[in-house]
Subunit: 488 residues, 2 copies
Amino acid sequence: MSAEEAAELIRHDEILGVSGFTLAGYPKAVPTALAKRAERLHAQGKPFQVSLFSGASTGDECDGALARANAIRYRAPYQSNKDLRSAINQGKIFYTDAHLGIMGRWIRSGALPHPTTAIIEATEVSDDGKIRLSTSCGNSMEFLQMADRIIVELNSLYGDALAGIHDCYLPDMPPHARPIPVSHVLDRVGTDFVQVDPEKIVAIVHTQAGDSVHPFTEPDEISKTIAGHILEFLAHERKKGRLPSGLPYQSGVGNVANAVLTAMARNPLQEPISLFTEVIQEAVFELIQSDKLLGASGTALTCSAKARKYFLANAFALKRKFVLRPQEVSNHPEVIRRLGVIAMNTAIECDIFGNVNSSHICGSSVMNGIGGSADFSRNCLLGFFMTPSTAKNGTISAIVPLVSHLDHSDHETDIFVTEQGLADLRGLDPVARAHRIIDACSHPDYRQQLNDYLNYSVKSAKGKHIPIALDRAFNMHLRFLSDGSMKE
Amino acid sequence: MSAEEAAELIRHDEILGVSGFTLAGYPKAVPTALAKRAERLHAQGKPFQVSLFSGASTGDECDGALARANAIRYRAPYQSNKDLRSAINQGKIFYTDAHLGIMGRWIRSGALPHPTTAIIEATEVSDDGKIRLSTSCGNSMEFLQMADRIIVELNSLYGDALAGIHDCYLPDMPPHARPIPVSHVLDRVGTDFVQVDPEKIVAIVHTQAGDSVHPFTEPDEISKTIAGHILEFLAHERKKGRLPSGLPYQSGVGNVANAVLTAMARNPLQEPISLFTEVIQEAVFELIQSDKLLGASGTALTCSAKARKYFLANAFALKRKFVLRPQEVSNHPEVIRRLGVIAMNTAIECDIFGNVNSSHICGSSVMNGIGGSADFSRNCLLGFFMTPSTAKNGTISAIVPLVSHLDHSDHETDIFVTEQGLADLRGLDPVARAHRIIDACSHPDYRQQLNDYLNYSVKSAKGKHIPIALDRAFNMHLRFLSDGSMKE
């Protein structure tokens, strides 16, 4: 069936569940055709909008095309597309930002309505309903199980290179749930395909387009400095006997996280590591090439065109080192806590008491979303939040008196790192935390201002446990909003 | 050995790990003697302070006596004592508020230093180091394992009434951890005693004092109304097929939580329930007496003098319905998520976007702490936060534009309930959440003010995803601090 014909099957006001996690394995042809159809209908004065559930962000062919066509009413649980983000921040699209590890469970339990149509990228479909997914698992299993109808985008680009990489297993639903039997990064506990009722498959659309993943860029100096602080701290903790070897790493999306993996790959003294993470990113290939990867478990494999070529040429060997799982498992508290993951996630801003904002600029404009950062930070054995100490040419300080939006409370931020330095916050009371963060992590241009605030708040706050000055807590943000800079 | 002699064994600057969880099973004689010793030393101009780790709060004989004696330098992870709280809020005692489910893991991993001396209330100690705990497990296993020295308060009050109630099992530490094999509320997976190295026991002090637990009070009208909303909602969800039967309940500490259990006990249509919770509170006995309790798992059993009498008289039968576990297990994400717990916790305030403050008045003065509320709210299948809509004779609104302290982000607050009504927030985008919370939960005296704020913030916020007005977000709190009322 053509993508256009498949798009005709979708009705106004449906809930679509699409495959895809952070630009890996999302449907391309049908959403693009659906966007065109929405535009035609809108031109005729007819309403056409859908709710869009996914694993995480999808590519411009899906989120971007549908947002520009004004075809999305509601979106969950994550996005990173420029045009979609802009529409959300203009209040034109309703968006629920959710922990990525819990979205599938919400749908299975009925806390959220189930998708009526699932649109899933696959590499193989059998007559009896066995579907092999492509470069991500995401929430595809849940959508395939729960949806009334299934549209498959059958992508021939990968041949059988991805066959066997998936571990399709969903945790039991309560009250009769058993332990998730994953105790090691590469444990396989499910099937390598998803079994669906073949009667539900209403369309198979043939495609051959790769994921639109940006090429890997070399880490900049600031990211390299942050990575250096982290590696130095890990070595120190290991020496102190506080960090057993063999713990897997989780690495968030973005330049700084990539820089840590790259630094490990290039450090001749680095022992081989394993990853238990969401997204197996391109930096992983450098770990493999330097013989430093034992194995990587994720829910998505993001490859730029160059990395895809490398993967396809070496798929047979590489696949033994990779497992792709549903995000309910890759991000599950049970498994993350059991494995003792070392988590590394990017912050937008951090306040002096250690609260972290991962998602909203000045509290109101969503950037991408909380993603899986809390799934990991809350359950890891050791967690890092990292960010450059300033943004926008120094007009924004990443260290503020109070985060303008709070995704991670001080209870789950172990270590905070900027290029200025690293603050180990474990066990510190709030005032001690404030001094350590200001001294170790803030940019010198903002240190005086932050210390002045702390002195004022310690004096003025009614309670001295967390001396917060409600009358001045957002002054830096307000100055930025009015003057374009947080600087005094 | 006398309590005074045992107290002499403790040196200035030690870290003490004491048994006890929410006024259950804490040491009484030695801390009281230690407080007296500290006062004597202080009178001689000598320094004497300790760091105090516990399961959760302890009784006045421990937290209160030591705080009044100025004998505590640092306290973690929870407290509820008037004098201790006051000293913390005056900045005289350093206090780290922590998730109760993770404290033991922090100590075992070395993220926090280990206690040098453990002071543990027990009901039995054998020559070869088998210790039976008393009315709580808390972090006692971890402290007994990790401490250099052990002081036992051997309490004869309970006889052998508590023997067999404990399930002493700690999760493996990474990287070689296995699943926690608890799949049902009453599953027993450990021993009913803690094995310690008998060489570490430096003192056994005989005692016979009960836990100082306040008598159970009848729920007030507001608590009953909140409980009614919750039970009505649960029935509705069950009817809609979104709530399988057999899910266990967690019930936080406090009047409102007690009211829910009491309402269940008194409802002739209520099916028998099970509890997977932190504290098995007195309201549970009413469930038992009305044949509505299948079983209860917790880390503590709090009994007022009256309830203790009932328990001691019926211990043999009651024990089969109770399991006390270490708080690393009672509050473990793995088990809570597996069992599909329905969580009910008390909030201090909730903002219009669904963020919850469980711990700090006006952001700065700690009340008790976050406790285990996040262990449950983050991993439950369905979670309630509940509070009366106003406090202090109506001068404080529990619904505010922005929480002054954030313990639970909008990502993990499913349902918010006041006596005014219930707001089901699942899947709602931020603006929809704001309307629902204001309409359903806020007190009529504050509704206009909250709507005015929302109208202003929707207009003024740069991003419309979470329209927050940083210049007015804390106006209600600031008015309360200056005028004694949040009312305009």
